[in-house]
């Protein structure tokens, strides 16, 4: 067994010249773009008073008319959580979170049960329109079914009936608890146990809503499923729970997007995502995370403390793709448990931080079955005074003979006040496995910038172009519908439109 921890810190020597000033000015402009999704929706919300004790958990469960087994699950988690300590091993600096200061439930008030989308509050429809997500029938994005989660509840799910014709279940988590309790009961906590870690355990106690999808045996989901998370209310934590199950031979591509208003207080987002890929199933899970990152001075922003994990059975495949540009703090390690023989895990990540953002993100690939393989491609881009860390574990168990892993972690520094760090952990417990790890840290290349400029390309566009090229291996993994959003987020132009 080998354990490895190395840290590559980057802050390049400064060589002041007119050009460097030019490019740093351009980098500044690029990274100082205003957060476009920072508006607040004026809507009457039904909220719990701030504070957290067991009675809050009970009230939450009552509010959602949950069955006893789910309440038991929550209570068990809550009691466990009280005994746990917040983890501090990540390369993140932030003040202690006051869990009593947040409200654990906030939902837009509705007068009656919704019969159709027409009854959704127009304010909410408008909110999602502003975010570029149309819930209205006639304007819906072709080929994408959306579950819209607003603060603690799901407000709408599109294309439900069409999907149901193929046996695909797609709805809010709360709906699933009522409608498909057996499936939820069987798989909830089966990948991320209630006792898994501090934040996941908190989520298990107080999760409010999220998305649920089930793909039946041998069915290839004909459209992208997506959830759009929006935090609106102040002083509210968002604790969503997503559960995706792809039955034997099933396939689904799932997208997740997130935004929040600009507020001076830090807000907590502690989600749990569980993926179950049964034999020969394939789940592709893509995230574009754009929570409010805080202002230029580092005030405000979302604390994004998320547990995402998938379990892959025989011949199954789980692919995580993430573009992380938002949040003040990101603590996130989408992972794969490669349980079945020949199962495959993939992790493609772009994490971009600027101003005072801090990200500690990566993955865990746990090889349990024989001939399992995993690929990790991580691209970190740091600007401003941000700190960007890749942290990844590749663990090859004794029985995972013939396992393979390839990891590649590249960091790009824009400016000289940011940091890039890599923490790869590798454990190999047999002799027939192969693990490869490559890492690089570089500063944006002045020669490349000049070459672009000499061809007439402005320095801002040149930086976009180069950053985009740097991320290409990850961006090309994104479904088309998301690629556009991702490119806008990074201030990039996607290449490959020709040839």
């Amino acid at each position: 067994m080998t354990k490895q921890r190395d840290q590559i810190s980057g802050s390049c020597a400064t060589d002041i010249s007119a050009r460097e000033e030019d490019s740093s000015h351009a980098i500044k402009q690029l990274t100082e773009q205003e957060y476009k999704y920072g508006f607040v929706t004026e809507i009457e919300e039904d909220s719990f008073a701030p504070g957290l004790d067991e009675s809050v958990v009970v009230r939450l469960s009552e509010k959602k008319r949950e069955p006893q087994w789910l309440l038991d699950f929550r209570i068990k988690a809550f009691r466990r959580w009280l005994t746990m300590e917040e983890p501090r091993w990540a390369f993140l600096r932030y003040p202690t979170i006051d869990y009593q200061a947040a409200s654990y439930y906030s939902a837009p008030k509705k007068k009656k049960t919704l019969q159709s989308l027409d009854e959704v509050d127009p304010e909410l429809i408008e909110t999602y329109n502003k975010l570029g997500i149309s819930l209205e029938e006639q304007k819906r994005l072709q080929g994408v079914a959306v579950d819209a989660v607003f603060d603690s509840v799901s407000v709408a799910t599109t294309f439900r009936e069409e999907l149901a014709r193929q046996g695909i279940l797609f709805c809010s988590f709360s709906d699933a608890v009522q409608t498909y309790p057996d499936l939820v009961k069987k798989y909830l906590g089966s990948v991320v146990p209630y006792s898994d870690n501090f934040f996941a355990t908190l989520n298990s106690a107080v999760f409010s809503d999220g998305s649920f999808a089930y793909i039946p045996k041998g069915v290839r989901c004909p459209m992208e499923l997506s959830t759009y998370f929006r935090i609106n209310a102040a002083n509210t934590g968002q604790f969503e729970r997503t559960l995706l199950i792809a039955d034997e031979g099933g396939y689904v591509s799932y997208l997740e997007g997130c935004t929040a208003p600009m507020r001076d207080e830090n807000q907590l987002h502690a989600a749990v995502v569980e993926l179950v890929a049964l034999d020969s199933a394939h789940i592709k899970y893509s995230t574009v995370q754009n929570w409010y990152p805080g202002n230029k001075k580092g005030i405000g922003g979302i604390y994004n403390l998320v547990t995402k994990r998938g379990k892959a059975m025989k011949n199954a495949k789980i692919s995580w793709t993430q573009v992380e540009t938002g949040s003040a703090i990101t603590w996130k390690y989408p992972s794969c448990l490669l349980v079945g023989d020949n199962s495959v895990g993939e992790f493609y990540s772009v994490a971009m931080t600027n101003n005072f953002q801090q990200a500690d993100t990566g993955t865990k690939m746990i090889h349990i079955g024989k001939n399992t393989s995993s690929t990790i491609v991580s691209k970190g881009i740091s600007a401003g005074r941000s700190q960007n860390s890749y942290r990844g574990l590749v663990s090859i168990q004794q029985k995972a003979t013939g396992a393979r892993n390839y990891s590649q972690c590249d960091s790009l520094l824009l400016g000289d006040q940011c940091g890039a760090h890599t923490f790869p952990y590798i454990e190999v417990r047999n002799t027939s496995s192969v693990v490869e790890h490559e890492a690089s840290t570089s500063k944006i290349n002045e020669e490349q910038l000049f070459y672009c400029q000499q061809r007439g390309i402005s320095i801002e566009n040149a930086i976009s172009l180069i950053v985009n090229g740097f991320c290409k291996e990850v961006l090309r993994e994104l479904p088309m519908e998301f690629a556009v959003e991702a490119q806008n987020l990074l201030g990039l132009q996607l290449e490959g439109t020709v040839g």
Binding site: Q454, F470, Q493
Partner: protein, 254 residues
């Protein structure tokens, strides 16, 4: 087209160009030759606007504009093209995407509409034939994994697409075998015209057999020591730079 007056340029602590005068009219092809360290690359870098060079005195006008006051990308959009001696690789950025971005930046500057992807591809394929470039080039990243010869041909391909008014080709012949040299030269020759001027920087007379210049200048210790017609290049080939040193000394004494 391009007029250089008494240009004195410093790089680091050393004065590299010690008063250059050069006048290039529309349609002319000039060649600059000279031994290593004579200031050829400094001239190319200064004219194209690369960082790290300080203009001590002198001026450069390009189509009546003060070239040295313009940002590098504005120089490019005004029609100033530099063929790089060492073209840089830009991983992950598609060659075609890059070139279309460049062409559209130039078109926008001129007030012309942007070219769409399909029209661009048609145009690019036509120019690629001229440079005998493989079509796989359209699928590759900028200069990534290109051989030395491919990089140089790619520079001329870019020039053919961007149609500059003035092209400064810095050792475009270095590292080329005889076939590649012929292809590059054909590319350059096909772009010669009454409105377009060239300045070739080279070590070798051989290039000038293929691209026949109107004028040849010899750069020596930061100054143009001698100018002449194309026969000057042949003379240099025969005699080396020794006799130029004599001339330079004499003019220095005078």
């Amino acid at each position: 087209m391009l007029n250089i007056h008494h240009l004195v340029v410093k790089a680091g602590d050393a004065i590299i160009l010690k008063g250059i005068d050069l006048h290039i009219k529309p349609g002319e092809v000039h060649a600059i030759m000279g031994p290593n360290g004579s200031g050829k690359s400094t001239l190319a870098n200064t004219l194209s606007g690369r960082a790290g060079y300080e203009i001590v005195s002198g001026s450069v006008s390009f189509q009546g504009q003060d070239l040295l006051s313009l940002a590098p990308e504005i120089r490019a959009r005004e029609g100033f093209f530099l063929g790089f001696q060492y073209p840089v690789e830009i991983p992950g950025v598609g060659n075609m995407y890059f070139l279309r971005a460049a062409l559209n930046a130039i078109r926008k500057h001129r007030g012309e509409p942007e070219i769409d992807a399909l029209d661009f591809l048609t145009l690019a394929k036509e120019k690629m034939k001229l440079l005998e470039l493989d079509e796989t080039l359209t699928k590759r990243s900028v200069n990534e994994g290109f051989s030395g010869g491919e990089k140089k041909r790619n520079e001329i391909f870019q020039m053919a697409l961007l149609q500059p008014k003035f092209a400064l080709l810095d050792e475009i012949d270095s590292g080329l075998d005889i076939d590649a040299l012929r292809i590059v030269a054909n590319g350059v020759n096909s772009l010669r015209g009454p409105e377009r001027s060239f300045l070739l920087i080279t070590h070798y007379q051989r290039l000038l057999d293929y691209i026949v210049p109107d004028y040849v200048h010899v750069l020596f210790h930061g100054k143009i020591a001698k100018s002449g017609g194309k026969e000057l290049a042949l003379e240099l080939e025969e005699k080396g730079y020794g006799w130029i040193e004599e001339i330079a000394k004499k003019s220095g004494d005078a």
